[in-house]
Structures are given as C-alpha cells and as structure tokens.
C-alpha cells in the first residue's frame, strides 16, 4: 500500500509537472526460457499502425519479469492443468486429446498461432476454444465446454503455449474469412455504450496514454489466455466483454458472431507478434 501511494505521488507529480509523460512502450526485449519473443514488428499492409507492439511492452517491469520465467509465471499453473486435461479421457468414446494428437509439443506446435481458422461445417471462423468443443463433441462423445468452464481456458492455454515464440499468422484466404475480417473491423470502430467509445478510441487513438492507472496498449491478443495479477487466468472473449462493459454497453455473448468477427480482425492486427501465452498482466 505504501509503495502504491508513493507510486501515485510520483505519477501525479510527473503529470502535473512539465516533465516527460510515461507514454510509449518500453524499450526492452523478451526471452522466455531462452525462446526469443517478437514483441515489436512491422505491421501488415493496410494496418493503421506502422509498428506493432505486444501488450507486454506496456506493463511495469515487475509484471514483465514474471512473463520471462516459466517458474515465476503464475499462468503456467493453468498450462500444467491443461496438460493434465490433455491426457484425461473424456466422453463416451474412451479417448483423451492425446489419443488422437499424442504429444502436444509436436502435434500442437504452431497450431495456436494460426487461429481463428475457417470452419467449413459451421461456415464460420472458429478459435481454439471452439475447436476443442468440436473434438469433444464429434470425436470423443463428450459435451461441449461452456464458456470459461470445465478447463476450457486451461486447455486453450496449454495448446497456445505450444506455439510460444512463433509469430501469429492467420490465413484470411480460407473460406469466407475476409468478410468476417471486414465485419470485425466494423465492430472495432463502432462506438458503444453510454461512454460512446470504440475499441479504436482506446487502443488506437489513445494507445500509449494512461487511462487512470492503466497504460493503454494496442489491445493485442498474442498473450491470451493471459494471467491477470488481480483476477487470474483471463480468456480473450472475457477481456473483450470486459472492455465493452467498460463503455457501459450490453456485453455480447462469448463466441457470438460479433466477437468471433472481432477476434478475427484483432488477431490480424497482431500479425507477426509472437505467441506469448500465458502472458502476465497487471
């Protein structure tokens, strides 16, 4: 508490004075257990920014340090829980994920970096969570996991963690991905709620600024599920819903068309950044 108070006084003094204001992403590099992580990269063509920054660059040094080391990263417990689930038989067919996919370190390497993907069956993009549900219902004779329940986040974290360090690269040429990208872009720039703010108001126009105690990042998705120090493991759609709630708008349902379109578009906005799952946040 005392530290917080002092930090607050320092912050207030910085803002009140003419001195430089904390604004830009920090100048720091990330390696996780020896794996180099791309936290800055040139933006893809047609992107509003020239350079993309991982949300990691906007966090305090103590928080950044927790991401560097798997033993310190509290999100790694979820990854371990996900590994246990991977090897657990679920459903009536007597299968676990490992029955079909064997060693995730081999079979899942790079997989998480390429979602959302086009799903020909539903004619929609799907994310890792929905792919898990497809496997559960279509291959394993199990029930689909409800949003954020039954180990959904842990399994997602485990699968994405197998792509640690690999660049995010979606294939927009699949199926109708391009039109979902367009729809997601609409959602991104549409102002919502009583506060009348769009994603772009905070993560594009005000990127790098402080909103109260929060340093506004580009709102990148490459660290998800993330581990938030104040609330634990956080899935991407939970974060989307939280940001939308903060505009005082009704929250769309997880995995709804709007949020799948948004995930498609926002994932593209982070093309080339390394997967950091599970990245640590304040």
């Amino acid at each position: 508490m005392k530290r917080l108070l002092i930090a607050g006084v320092v912050l207030a003094a910085t803002f009140a004075g003419a001195g430089p204001v904390l604004a830009d992403p920090v100048d720091d590099t990330l390696e996780i257990d020896g794996t180099p992580i791309i936290t800055r990269t040139a933006a893809p063509e047609g992107h509003p920014f020239d350079e993309l920054y991982s949300g990691w660059l906007f966090r305090e040094s103590e928080t950044r340090d927790l991401s560097r080391d798997s033993f310190e990263n509290p999100g790694m417990i979820a990854v371990e829980d996900g590994e246990a689930l991977w090897n657990t038989v679920m459903g009536t067919e007597g299968k676990s994920c490992a029955t079909c996919h064997e060693d995730a370190a081999v079979s899942m390497k790079g997989v998480g970096a390429k979602f959302p993907k086009w799903d020909a069956d539903s004619q929609k993009p799907i994310n890792v969570e929905l792919q898990i549900n497809k496997c559960l219902t279509e291959q394993m004779g199990a029930e689909a996991l409800p949003f954020n329940k039954g180990g959904q986040q842990e399994l997602t974290a485990y699968i994405k963690h197998q792509s640690l360090g690999l660049p995010v690269e979606m294939d927009l040429s699949q199926g109708d991905m391009q039109s979902w990208w367009e729809k997601g872009k609409d959602v991104y720039y549409t102002r919502t709620g009583q506060l009348n703010l769009a994603c772009a108001s905070c993560h594009e126009t005000a990127m790098g600024k402080m909103i109260r105690a929060d340093h506004l990042s580009q709102g990148q998705v490459n660290g998800f599920p993330t581990y938030r120090l104040k609330s634990g493991l956080t899935s991407l759609h939970q974060r989307f819903r939280g940001c939308i709630r903060d505009t005082r708008a009704e929250q769309p349902k997880a995995f709804s068309d709007d949020l799948m379109a948004l995930e498609t578009y926002v994932t593209w906005r982070g093309t080339g950044l390394s997967v950091e799952t599970p990245s640590v946040r304040q």
Binding site: A12, F15, G193, Q194, L195, N196, L197, R212, R245, A249
Partner: protein, 154 residues
Amino acid sequence: MTRRMKITLGAIAAVALSTAAIASEVSPETVEFTDDGVAVSLTGVAGDPVAGAEAFKNRRLGNCLACHANADMAGELFHGNVGPELDGVADRWEEPMLRAIVVNSKHVFTDETVMPGFYSLDAGKDVAKDFVGKTILTAQQVEDVVAYLGTLKE
C-alpha cells in the same frame, strides 16, 4: 403516470416540487449550443465547486481524472493523460465553453473526440440496460463540475 397516481396525498406535494425543479432544467435534447458554447445554466441553480470537485474525481460520476491530469488534485492517485492537463483550464475557456465541453464535447472538438458527452443522449450502440436514456451526469452535476473547472486558474 399510473404509478404517480397511486402515490399517497402526502407524497404528491414532494413529487410536485421535484417535478417543478426538473421542469426548469434544460433536457439533454434541448441544450442550445452557440459559437460561444452553452451560455445558459442547465438548472438555474449556481454550481457548487466543492460538489463539482467530487463529481470530477469520483469514478462512478465524471471520472475526469481517468483522462485528465489536474495538479489541483495531486493528492489523488493516478491521473490519466488521454486528454490535456486541466491546470489553468479556466484561463483558456470561458464558462459557456466549459459547459459545452462537459455537456457534449463533440460539438466543441470533433465527432472523433474520445471524450464522452456527460449530458447527452447521443451515446454509442447497445447502451447497457441500466443506462438507457440516462446521461452520465445530472444537469446539476454538470453545473457543479463547470463551477469547479472555473476555479482552475493559474
């Protein structure tokens, strides 16, 4: 209306009083913007700068500190910098313009501004149930905040 008719006689006087107070309030839809801003008080009741300071910092009211640093509130934790510092803001703007900025800054800056309209129903899509048809601040809270801003001179 039907609900009001069910209220007991004793309460009617109180209701009539508060209705009278509200009747003299300018509604969000009828606020008049001129080149000088919003010249007329929204309530006809002088703003209270002390209440205004509270509305300014309170996260559930103006939460102005989310976006604006303000040296006058150096004792408060965490000042944002999405918008400009408000030190000396009363030297830069006259009262009608300050009122206009708080009511709906989109009329003063551009439609692109990130600053919410605090006494406007011109909101975004899918406003949460609890906030439909409501402004962020009441007319009197706007007057109070404007009175407080008026004290920020250098």
